[in-house]
């Protein structure tokens, strides 16, 4: 039997917003589409920015990369705010369980002093690299012109703050929440020779003006070598040093990096695929920055997993970039 429902007045007069319909047709749109496309202001800006009067607000000339339509770059994860926080809330839940577990059983306070020192010297200072990544991604979110692009970067900015906080909490577990271990670790970042090339690299990224150059350097080149080296190879190496429990506490970073590959790959694919000129520019930036990233990680690799591991990470990045028609040095010369 069927129930008679009066439908005349509930028949919609359109299925989505006009700006969404212009792209995808007048049919029911996804939440991602309605939250992401053509939302930011595009024209008729009233005043030039006092902090950079070369360009207007929301001006696509803030990068030398040219896209006919920046909305061609979109997020394969379909993250709008709600989907993003929902996903991260789940990830943090398992991180919380691990931190709680380590805390309750004093797993880190029980580590040999030598191992604790290694963690504070080799792992925890990456929290400062994360803060640099946070700043860079916030800049990009402020400069990029399409919501599909800018939102991925503000998510990344907040993620990096969160990762920096997880790294900091490893030190707080070691010293029983006094802050002593973080002070010690920051000392390495500031003064230990091992860290100076990396600190210089991060400071160098903080003065990069072109936001797409910056996303390439930060989210693809630097992360590409660093996450593979630190959270995979070094993680396994730390386990051999008696710190296998720390693995639980860096699981978030491994999951996160896997997730970030999805959007960074999609972004590079769209941008490199747009034009020969874009490809050339990307190639120039890769040629300029990839060797610097490699050198910045070199002393850290030497002091832990060895240079071969860094070369492997480099080869992996090279294979990845090749898929987009880009070259980087696959093995050290």
């Amino acid at each position: 039997m069927s129930i008679e429902i009066k439908t005349t007045s509930v028949e919609p007069i359109r299925h989505t917003y006009s700006h969404i319909a212009r792209r995808f047709g007048d049919k029911p749109a996804t939440r991602y589409q309605e939250a992401s496309y053509d939302l930011e202001a595009k024209t008729n800006f009233h005043y030039r920015p006092q902090w950079d009067s070369r360009y207007e607000l929301n001006d696509d000339r803030r990068t030398a990369i040219r896209m006919d339509d920046w909305y061609a770059v979109s997020d394969p994860r379909q993250f709008y705010y709600g989907a993003y926080v929902g996903n991260r809330a789940k990830m943090q839940e398992s991180a919380e369980t691990s931190f709680g577990f380590c805390d309750k059983r004093n797993l880190l306070t029980r580590l040999p002093e030598e191992t604790q020192k290694q963690l504070l010297r080799l792992l925890v200072p990456f929290r400062h690299v994360e803060l640099g990544a946070n700043m860079n991604n916030s800049k990009i979110a402020g400069d990029a012109v399409a919501t599909t692009v800018s939102q991925m970067h503000i998510y990344a900015a907040m993620d990096r703050l969160g990762i920096g906080q997880y790294l900091s909490r490893i030190a707080l577990l070691i010293d029983g929440s006094t802050g002593k271990a973080l002070d010690e670790s920051k000392g390495y970042w500031m003064d230990d020779e091992l860290w100076q090339p990396m600190r210089k690299l991060v400071e160098d990224t903080l003065v990069v003006d072109d936001w797409f150059e910056l996303t390439l350097v930060q989210n693809i080149l630097l992360d590409g070598l660093m996450y593979t080296l630190v959270y995979h190879t070094m993680d396994a190496w730390l386990a051999t040093q008696g710190a296998e429990d720390v693995s639980m506490l860096t699981e978030f970073m491994r999951d996160w990096y896997k997730d970030s590959l999805r959007w960074t790959n999609a972004m590079i694919k769209a941008v490199a695929g747009e034009s020969e000129a874009n490809c050339e520019l990307l190639q120039t930036w890769i040629d300029q920055w990839e060797p610097q990233v490699y050198s910045a990680l070199q002393p850290l690799a030497e002091a832990s997993v060895g240079i071969d591991a860094l070369d492997e990470a480099r080869a992996e990045l090279s294979t990845r970039l090749k898929k987009f028609g880009l070259q980087s040095r696959g093995v050290s010369a």
């Binding site: 709600g82 402020g142 973080l182």
Partner: protein, 511 residues
């Protein structure tokens, strides 16, 4: 930080988890990393004095916000499934949503971009982190508003192309120029403008009308959004207060700069809110409170207490607050009578208030409504009844600063139009008020750049010379659907059919 063996307290722990990740650079100059921090003349001697306005680590942020989003989207889904748009008080209410989606939601997005920028500009890590959290919150608001209105857009006109209209339509240059003004300023002025003057001082005058308006008019989707955003806004307000106190405490030379910004942004905000005043008094079929009552509670009382509190820093109340206080008796009526005449060029409908509504206004505005405004409506109603619904075909003159048509009257002289003009580099500029004129005089190089919609039409930059072409082709306002009088509009007819009323019955009711 000093060596300690005690467990960290919450405040110190939060600092370790935020600002302690920052460091003094040595390979690059600080000035090159933070090039925008000085040009406004604000002197910061010690960023370590920054008090974190809230302590929220990312893990709790994700968790807490995800819970809120889950609940919010459950309501959105239910609202769409049950055709919640049929349960609102009256379809005239939807016009408030049209104003919101085209006037306010794009500002949420601009706020996202602005805070992402300041989230990089300050050399103080604590301040940056607070700005970034607001950036992502504002992105949230911009997106959840699209989703909250999505269902309405399927059943009513005028909601279909909000961002496009925001960039072009004449009256939307009021909110747009407001935010462009803030975003193009330096980071300290941006925070004084948006975090302090807008979010802290004036936010209730935006939030209460729209969100309580939604509650009073049966709009579950918007009211749920409002509740859900409330805790975000609480954070934004604490940032607004912290930033102003921090700047003022850092150096006495900052006081006059901040005072000028407060004067300017109070006035800019007040002019922007004039759109809200008409929405509150005229567009809500079920009224929450009058604009003048809202102004008394949320500005005169709350603002009064706040500025008393800031006295110790040498800050006085905004220079032109007396004009704003006096205007509370007139604002909404002057706006609505103007928009009534220009409905051919708006994405929402206008109408003559019903008899009970006029009586409500007489009661709420005893000194002004019957004397100045009721007679206008009675005249307009008579004209409409005679088949001459009035539309004004001369384009209005816009104020060079706030971009509202010069429709306001002088303080204490409600029949005298307020108008100022001045010449700058051989060119004549027009203003709605002394306050706007003064804002211009302080930064003429900025305000001569304004994209004034009416000038742009005259200059042929809007795809046509006649209003109809501009409205249809350039604005994307669908003629006969989105614009003109409410009575007899497709929205009105659809509403009658939802309610099962035949137009003829309605005529009988009205007669």
């Amino acid at each position: 930080m000093a060596v300690q063996n005690k467990k960290l307290n919450l405040k110190d722990k939060y600092q370790y988890l935020t600002r302690d990740m920052g460091w003094e650079p040595t390979y690059q100059k600080k000035k090159d990393i933070f090039p925008d921090e000085d040009f406004e003349g604000i002197k910061i001697t010690d960023w370590s004095q920054w008090e974190d306005p809230f302590r929220l680590t990312m893990d709790s942020y994700w968790k807490y916000q995800a819970e809120k989003e889950k609940k919010l989207y459950a309501i959105f889904d239910a609202f769409a499934q049950n055709n919640g748009h049929q349960n609102i008080s009256d379809a005239r209410y939807v016009n408030a949503l049209k104003l919101f989606l085209s006037g306010v939601s794009p500002l949420e997005h601009a706020a996202f971009q602005g805070y992402a920028k300041t989230g990089r500009q300050f050399s103080g890590t604590g301040a940056r982190v607070a700005c970034q959290m607001q950036a992502i919150d504002e992105l949230r608001h911009s997106q959840t508003q699209q989703h909250a209105m999505s269902h309405y857009n399927k059943h009513f006109n005028g909601l279909h192309d909000a961002a496009h209209m925001h960039d072009r339509v004449w009256f939307l240059s009021v909110p747009k120029s407001f935010f462009d003004d803030a975003r193009t300023a330096g980071p300290f002025e941006f925070l004084t403008a948006i975090s302090f003057s807008f979010e802290y001082v004036l936010t209730n005058l935006l939030f209460v009308p729209f969100m309580s308006g939604a509650a009073y008019n049966g709009d579950m989707a918007t009211v749920t959004f409002g509740f859900s955003a409330q805790s975000d806004e609480a954070r934004h307000m604490t940032l607004g207060l912290e930033v102003i106190k921090f700047i003022l405490e850092q150096h006495e030379d900052n006081v006059p700069i901040v005072q000028r910004w407060i004067d300017k942004w109070f006035w800019r905000g007040f002019r922007l809110l004039s759109l809200v005043s008409m929405m509150m008094d005229y567009m809500l079929p079920n009224k929450v409170m009058s604009w003048s009552e809202a102004w008394e509670v949320y500005y005169e009382q709350n603002g009064g207490a706040l500025f008393k509190d800031l006295e110790r820093y040498g800050i006085r109340p905004p220079k032109y607050q007396d004009v704003a206080n006096d205007a509370k008796h007139h604002l909404s009526h002057q706006l609505w009578t103007t928009f009534y005449q220009y409905s051919q060029a708006t994405s929402f409908h206008t109408w003559i208030p019903e008899k009970e509504e006029m009586d409500w206004m007489s009661e709420k505005y005893p000194d002004t409504f019957d004397k100045y405004y009721r007679p206008r409506y009675e005249h307009l109603a008579k004209e409409a009844a005679a088949g001459r619904r009035f539309y004004n075909n001369t384009l209005p003159q816009l104020c060079q600063v706030c971009q509202v048509p010069t429709l306001f009257t002088e303080m204490g002289a409600p029949t005298k139009l307020s108008h100022r003009q001045l010449k700058y580099e051989g060119e004549r500029y027009h203003f709605c008020s002394e306050a706007c004129c003064e804002i211009f005089e302080h930064e003429p190089e900025k305000y001569i750049q304004a994209w004034l919609p009416v000038h742009q039409i005259y200059q042929g930059n809007c795809e046509g010379a006649d209003v109809e072409t501009v409205v249809q082709k350039y604005y994307h306002i669908n003629i006969g659907e989105d614009n003109f009088e409410y009575l007899g509009s497709p929205d009105h007819k659809r509403w009658l059919s939802i309610k099962g009323i035949k137009p003829a019955d309605e005529d009988k009711n009205a007669a």
